[in-house]
């Protein structure tokens, strides 16, 4: 009986209106119409608890960390380090010093690219990425590959927007020094088989970085399950503040890598001749960190801890299914990214119509979507398009909003034809 109640509860457990009530911005309007926010993949909205944590911190707790002798500074330091432990628990890292606070996914990847490159990349070495990467997982590697004469190898994708594990295996060789791969594609929605890639890579002692920017807001990301060597993600895409993000790195790697930026906080002893570096994670945290951001991120994680991951995922699946089915009923619509394993976003084009035009006409109906190349120009080239319209869903979106999107696209298409 208890079991039955539980399963029934799981199916109906998602009270989306209750969730929406936590996000004040969802009660606002755009062009005089209730806001339909379908751009969470670019940046998610913030629950009141995160907003409160930020303002409470600035109103009552702010001081610089790791250096004051007074109570306020010690308390701020405690809060900052508590946030680190919260992140450690959230991703199930073994140690809290494996969690480095950075500005976001972009900075995390740049950090690894530069520090790893400096220590390990030699002329002729290879770094592997996929064809579906965000620019932030392409350009940093291009930069360091140029610096050290290494080569960027790109894992191709099929028409659905999936990579093939056999191909990855074929492309791996003894010059491969690192594989950096997106966990969930922001432009296609594809969920990549990170664990399988990691297993293959580790057999050849190749470390793997996962770009988790799109993953952490939609389900459990467990670094020990995935066994990734590095994980990069951004607070602002998981209901936290902007300007804070995480680089997770396995202790053995972070110990090996040289510092990225120099400055205060990251040193042990400085003379003009020589500097010795602080221990982990401070070696990678030069300068005053984003203390408020870390506290806001902790509040976002606490928020996520209190909701049912299964409930959220089954809700997001319903949104995806409804959007996919209904959009495909509109003549001329083609969905870009049809992977078997797909996250809750739809990237699409309408034959003969520019995404900008659809985006503009949706905007006037109060519907926020993203149009353009989604910072993945090489990927757009592969599909032979210049951009798509992307509607991305989060735990607070409703089926009624999907209906509004579909009606909005229908109206736009009619106006433009």
């Amino acid at each position: 009986m208890a079991e039955l109640v539980k399963t029934m509860k799981n199916e109906v457990a998602w009270d989306v209106q209750k969730i929406r009530a936590d996000f004040p911005i969802l009660r606002t309007e755009m062009h005089g119409k209730p806001l339909v926010f379908l751009d969470s993949a670019a940046s998610s909205q913030k629950p009141q608890v995160v907003i409160d944590a930020l303002s409470n911190y600035y109103a009552t707790q702010h001081a610089n960390v790791h250096r004051g002798v007074y109570e306020l500074s010690a308390a701020a330091t405690d809060k900052f380090e508590e946030a680190r432990s919260t992140v450690q628990r959230f991703i199930n890292a073994e140690h809290d010093h494996e969690v480095v606070f950075v500005r976001g996914t972009t900075e995390a990847i740049n950090l690894v690219a530069h520090s790893f490159g400096r220590k390990y990349l030699q002329p002729g070495d290879e770094v592997m990425i996929t064809a579906m990467e965000h620019h932030s997982n392409i350009v940093p590697w291009q930069l360091v590959c140029q610096m050290y004469g290494a080569k960027l190898v790109v894992i191709p994708i099929n028409e659905a927007g999936e990579i093939n594990l056999e191909t990855v295996k074929e492309l791996m060789n003894d010059r491969t020094k690192l594989i950096s791969i997106v966990h969930i594609s922001n432009a296609l929605g594809t969920i990549n088989p990170i664990r399988d890639i990691v297993d293959m890579a580790h057999q050849a002692d190749i470390p793997v970085l996962a770009d988790g920017a799109q993953a952490t807001a939609h389900g459990k990301v467990d670094v020990r399950d995935l066994d990734v060597d590095f994980l990069a993600f951004s607070g602002h895409k998981m209901f936290g503040p902007t300007g804070i993000g995480i680089l997770y790195g396995k202790e053995k790697w972070l110990e090996e890598l040289p510092p990225y930026q120099g400055g205060g906080e990251m040193i042990r002893k400085v003379t003009f001749e020589e500097t010795t570096y602080n221990e982990l994670p401070f070696k990678f945290e030069a300068g005053t960190p984003n203390i408020a951001g870390s506290i806001g991120l902790k509040a976002a994680i606490d928020y996520l801890d209190n909701i049912s991951v299964e409930g959220m995922q089954s809700h997001e699946e319903k949104l995806l299914e409804s959007a996919t089915t209904q959009l495909l009923e509109i003549p001329g619509v083609k969905i870009i990214g049809t992977a078997e394993e797909k996250a809750s976003l739809v990237s699409f084009v309408v034959e003969g119509i520019h995404p900008y035009d659809i985006g503009t006409l949706l905007d006037h109906q109060g519907i926020a979507v993203r149009t353009g190349h989604h910072c993945a120009e090489p990927l757009m080239d592969i599909f032979g398009i210049t951009g798509t319209i992307r509607a991305s869903f989060a735990l607070y979106n409703t089926l009624e909003e999907i209906d509004k999107l579909v009606a909005g696209v229908q109206k736009a298409v009619k106006m433009l034809s």
Partner: protein, 139 residues
Amino acid sequence: MSIDEIQNEIVDEFAFFDDWTEKYEYIIDLGKNLPLIDEQYKDEDHLIRGCQSKVWLHAERQDQQVHFTADSDAMITRGIIAMLIRVLNDQPASDIASSDLFFIEKIGLRDHLSQTRSNGLTNMIKQMKMYGLAIEASK
């Protein structure tokens, strides 16, 4: 008609629209009827790149005036281009260079010219004025 007279005329036309749908239907119509740019000018040299949409602009000097043709890959951008051309086309170079394009704000399209939209229009206007300036300077 002078640049400002045409601008006022456009503002008056837009006053008739009751809602955004009518307004955009009109802009889309203008876009569809934009006189075509000569295909040979739709090349890299004439391209003004925006992150969202592309714009091609060609200018031809006719004595002290400038004749513009342009195109875009997005229809709403084309519609706005049609209006810009209507305002600035075949005007004296010096007037183009010093023009204040107030009609855009008055008809509620300022959004489309913000940098964030990045549809090429802002740079297109800059480019049109530059042509005016260059011709004026070469007098």
